[in-house]
Symmetry: C2
Subunit: 200 residues, 2 copies
């Protein structure tokens, strides 16, 4: 009962996430958020309590869909372990490339939330969300590495965990490079170099 909602919650979270990504947490006002999401302030506060809570929920959703996409790739049985890693890099490069096209060169919400203190200090949940994401990402990549050792596509002298750390760090590195304006073709070479070092 009561008056029905006129907006889609997930759409607001996506629009918010984009704003936060492009302008940063501190530099996006609630007014910009309202405008971007096409929602009035009272609706925002009524639904999401505060700017902090809205950010947290946006981050949660962003990470959830990002992780799903990576999981789909990294557990694709039709691919060898090495091919899975290659496809993961493809995904990252595609994301960066299309972000580039859409004008907003900015940025990776996950890496930015990690590196920029701010809300992450006040809000332990931000830390927790990011930690959990990284744990899962590391596990997924480590599994792909392990299966790459079995199918012979990857070196068998490396620990899956260490290799996974290396891959994950490479991805972050690429995101930073991309934010610095490095062209996608260069990013591709960097990704290839990283991957080559793990090949059998």
């Amino acid at each position: 009962m009561g008056r029905p909602r006129e907006f889609d919650e997930a759409a607001v979270l996506d629009a918010s996430a984009k704003q936060f990504r492009v302008r940063g947490f501190a530099d996006t006002s609630t007014e910009q958020l309202c405008e971007a999401a096409g929602v009035k302030r009272s609706s925002l506060y009524n639904t999401f309590i505060s700017k902090d809570e809205l950010f947290i929920r946006s981050l949660e959703r962003h990470i959830s869909v990002a992780l799903d996409a990576q999981k789909a790739i990294l557990t694709e049985n039709a691919l060898s372990g090495c091919e899975r890693l290659a496809a993961l890099f493809d995904l990252i490069l595609e994301e960066e490339g299309s972000a580039r096209k859409k004008g907003h060169a900015a940025g990776c919400m996950i890496v930015a939330s990690r590196m920029a203190p701010g809300i992450g200090d006040r809000e332990p949940r931000v830390q927790r969300i990011l930690d959990r994401f990284m744990d899962r990402q590391l596990s997924l990549v480590a599994e792909a590495v392990a299966s790459g050792r079995l199918d012979g596509s990857l070196r068998n002298d490396l620990s899956p965990r260490d290799a996974a750390l290396m891959i994950v760090s490479a991805i972050s590195g690429i995101r930073v490079l991309s934010q610095s304006g490095t062209g996608v073709s260069s990013l591709r070479k960097v990704a290839d170099l990283h991957l080559d070092s793990l090949r059998a």
Copy 2:
């Protein structure tokens, strides 16, 4: 003539840089800056004009000393090309390790400034300073790679420029990993993996 200054300008810049690193730009108030630097607000504004200007000068100084340290290592004639790169990774790991010990796990001012929009949007100079840093860093690393090819310590089938991009991205990746709480010993393994892939 006139009343002499009671504080050291460089010391204020260093203290400010630390605050900005630990708390982020938006979340450090001028009051915190004054307290950290041991200087009254009027002195700050009198000398540095505004919070924005103070940040820019802090960043400039921070980058300048960082680059000097890297340059010293990367142009050390006594070392082979590969050893120079290894020493560079050592420097990074040492920085991260000692930051960890001092409690403030946060953070790399350079990567954070890149990834977190904010002042960087308003201030083209921030962009310029970071671009310039990266150019120089890339050149220094590329030179080290080139000399590593000559002295036989590094693979001779890779373009110095691409290899340099790969190294620089690896460094950023390690910084992100470190910020996420990864232990220094794991960071070391990651660095070794990255370096191994370039060895002759």
